[in-house]
Structures are given as C-alpha cells and as structure tokens.
C-alpha cells in the first residue's frame, strides 16, 4: 500500500473541503482498502467520513417515499421492516450482495461507487487497462472475458458494473443528493455513472470533493411488487453473473400499468432497460410478454467470446424476474 495522509472529517462541509484538495473518502473501506492494497487506488489522502453517520445514516420511509442516508450500512437497510415490506427490490439487492461482514461495514454511498471487478483492472501487472491507465487499451477484449459486460460497452472497456443496490435505485427512479463546494445538489441516480464514451477512467459525474449524502426513492404503486433476481456462479457471496431488478404495477386483469426493469452484472454501468419496459406497458403480463421484454432488453448486446452465453442468461433472468413479480402477493 502506498503512503497516505489520514484525517477524520466531522461534518460534510469539512469533508468536502478536504476532498476538494485531492484524496479519497473512507467509509466502510471494503472497496477502497482492497484497491489500495492492490495499488490500483493510490490516494494521497484519506478523509474518514464515518463521523458523518450521525447526520447521514437515517432510513426514512413515508408517504413521500424512501430516504436513505449515504452512511447507512447495507445490513441495516436490508433489515429495515419498512424497506422489506414496501421496497423489497432494495432489501433483496442488499441482502444478496457480499457477505454478512461486508454488509455490516459497507455504506450505501460507497456501495454505488464500487469499482469494477475486471481482473485486468485489479491487477496492475497488466499494462493495458483504459480504466486504470487511460489510453493503454483493453486486455479483456481478447482475454478471459466470461464475466464481462454485453450492454453499454465499447472497444475501450467491457468491464461490468458489479453492484446490485444500484440496479434497484435506477429501477425505482431514485435521485442522489451530493454535497460540494458550491453547496448540495440533486441528480437522477441514472445520471451518476457516466457512459463508456466519456472514457472508462471517468466513472461518475461527481466533481472534485463532491460527497454523496443520500438517496431518495419516490413512492409508486409498483414498489411493493418488486424483486431482485440474482444469478451467480456460486450460491452466495458472489457478484452477479446476471441480475434483474423489476417493479411492476398490474391492474386486476394482470395487464401492466407500469413497469421498471434494470439489469445487473451484464452492463458497463447501472442499467435501466427502458426498451423492455415499453414492450410491456399496456400488455397482459404472461410468459410471451415477459420473453418479448427480455429480448428487447438485450437488443444491443455485444459479446466477446467468453461471454457469448451472457445475453441469453440475461434474457432468462429478466423473464423469470417478471414472472416471479407477477406471482407476488401485494
């Protein structure tokens, strides 16, 4: 690990000022400390923001929706009775991620910023990685790419966004509040992560020193009929090979009034499948409709050999998630 300076910030303003001078925010540390050991991350300064949990770790559910503080821990949000009842897709996306230890440590803000698990990104002995060394190339294109993305990729980078919680957020139209030197601002969660065309090394639209304070999920008749389906290479403590976050509002005849679909494990960034949603709106939710939506979701998929199987795995995950959501008692 490279040397760094360490300081604690007692409030958001202090954290932002310190962060703007260069450095990384330390919350749970489950991604950052790991990447620092690998020397993929070499921050000159760590700003420990855990004291901010006093003001920014609340879980509030009410008529205006769900508000989650960025310093809330994954385990606490997943265990919250109101989240489990009214926003099951959020609880499940957190419950099915990582391990019990990591869920106790990891913050929500850090969770959405977790780094790529691409082996060529994580191993600095590989020279070519555009995410780590801009302009150096992509080792995964002709490398071992079984776990790489098929949606939103380019020749510059095919790494998959590894998180689960972000898929629930993007599906439910969440917004994110950030603090910065110019004060707080809100942006759609969908806009937080940049497309690959901005350059793989530029992952988010956070400006220097900007710090995530929390997330807001608007209410909707679809949040209760929601779930997170995660397909993994091993049963637990594993990243998604394919995942689907779905939320559906059905009328009494089973026709889709509204639907939200996001795809995990197979896309470059948190991925909303709007094309698939359009297929379903106003249509009876049956197997054929679910399959048609799933097909639309992967219309633009690009594979690179090792992950040729991935679009079909993803289609089946989306279709199964939709059919499971149909069967939920709400």
């Amino acid at each position: 690990m490279r040397p760094f300076a360490y300081r604690r910030a007692d409030d958001a303003a202090e954290a932002v000022r310190a962060g703007a001078a260069g450095g990384a925010f330390l919350a749970g540390g489950t991604t950052l400390v790991d990447l620092m050991k690998l020397e993929v991350a070499r921050p000159p300064r760590l700003i420990d923001i855990n004291p901010l949990a006093r003001d920014h770790a609340a879980i509030k559910a009410g008529p205006e929706g769900l508000q989650l503080g960025a310093l809330a821990r994954m385990a606490d949000v997943a265990a919250d009775p109101a989240v489990r009842r009214d926003y099951p897709v959020i609880a499940q996306s957190l419950d099915l991620a990582a391990s019990g230890q990591i869920r106790n440590m990891a913050s929500l803000g850090g969770n959405v910023l977790q780094a790529s698990r691409c082996p060529y990104f994580r191993d600095i002995s590989w020279g070519a990685c555009n995410k780590r060394v801009p302009g150096s190339g992509c080792s995964a294109l002709a490398g071992v790419n079984r776990g790489h993305a098929v949606l939103g990729v380019s020749q510059a980078c095919i790494s998959a966004y590894p998180g689960d919680f972000a898929q629930a957020l993007i599906a439910l139209d969440a917004t994110v509040t950030v603090a910065g030197l110019a004060g707080p601002r809100r942006l759609p969660f969908e806009d937080l992560h940049r497309p690959v065309s901005d350059g793989p090394h530029l992952e988010t639209r956070l400006r220097p020193g900007e710090l995530i304070l929390g997330f807001a999920i608007p209410p909707g008749p679809w949040t209760r009929r929601s779930l997170y389906l995660k397909v993994r290479d091993r049963q637990s403590f594993e990243f998604a090979r394919a995942a689907a976050a779905v939320a559906v509002d059905l009328d009494s005849a089973g026709v889709v009034r509204e639907v939200r679909i996001a795809i995990g494990g197979l896309a470059y960034r948190p991925w909303r499948a709007r094309g698939a949603e359009a297929v379903l709106r106003g249509r009876l939710l049956d197997e054929a409709a679910a399959r048609a939506a799933a097909t639309a979701a992967f219309a633009g998929a690009v594979t690179h050999g090792g992950n040729d199987f991935a679009p079909e795995l993803g289609r089946r995950a989306v279709a199964r998630a939709l059919m499971s959501a149909r069967g939920l008692e709400v």
Binding site: P3, A5, Y6, G29, T30, A75, S99, I102, N104, M105
Partner: protein
Amino acid sequence: MTLEVNGAQRRFTADVRTTLLDALRERLNLTGAKKGCDHGQCGACTVHIDGRRALACLTLAVAAQGRRITTIEGLSPPVGPLHPMQAAFIDADAFQCGYCTPGQIMSAVSCVEEGGAASREEIAEYMSGNLCRCGAYPHIVEAVEAAAARTPS
C-alpha cells in the same frame, strides 16, 4: 494509536497504513484473528467492532480508534467456561486444520445474534463470508445450529 480491544485500552505506534488485523497480530500479540486472503474474501480475520462482525483486514487501525473491538481472545474469559459457540464447535468437531476457526466462530456468534440461524440453509447463507479450505462446512453448520438452539432469542 489507541484501540479498545477486549475491554482494554491498548496504545501502540504504527504506520497509518496498518490494518486492524496487522495491529492485532503484530502489535498487540493477539494472533487469534487470522490472515487468509487479506482482501475481504475469506473471513479468517473476522472480529466484532461495536458488537457487529467485521473484517479486520479491510479496516484501517487508525480508523478503528474509539470503537469497541472484540477478538476471539475476548469472547470468553481467560479462566472460566468457553463461549457456547466455542463449545459447540468442539462438540460438533467443526474444524480440521483450525485456521479459519476463530473467524468462523466470531461470524457464527453474529449469525445467531442477527437472527440468521433459523435453518441449515439460512446458516449457510449467513456464514458464506467465511471460507473453510478443509471443507468442514457440514459440521460448522451443525455447531451453529446447536449453539443457536441453546441461545435464548
């Protein structure tokens, strides 16, 4: 740095890069927490921080100051009965080489406290952050099940 470990304030000098795991093992002579992968993937370093299980290898010691740390050495008194989970691991023969065992036990105590021991399947899920290369999983699950049955909910 000063860390509160097993109820005692322990003061020592260390580089700011020192993880809690290295501080415990190399500075405080508490070698119960083990270094397996050192990247948060195996659970051998599991300790309790403020009463919740956490990975000592991904926790910076400097950031753990002011928090209550419990290691396997502090789970039961130096003289006296073992913690029920320790006893259950012995009774169920829930280890072979024993390297992962302190982490398994610290995690298992939390597994029961978190309400994750209602069935064998649930125990397997809640304990998935602790790997055992000897493959003692069936007996580990048995131990957790037995200890949970003796723990008032």
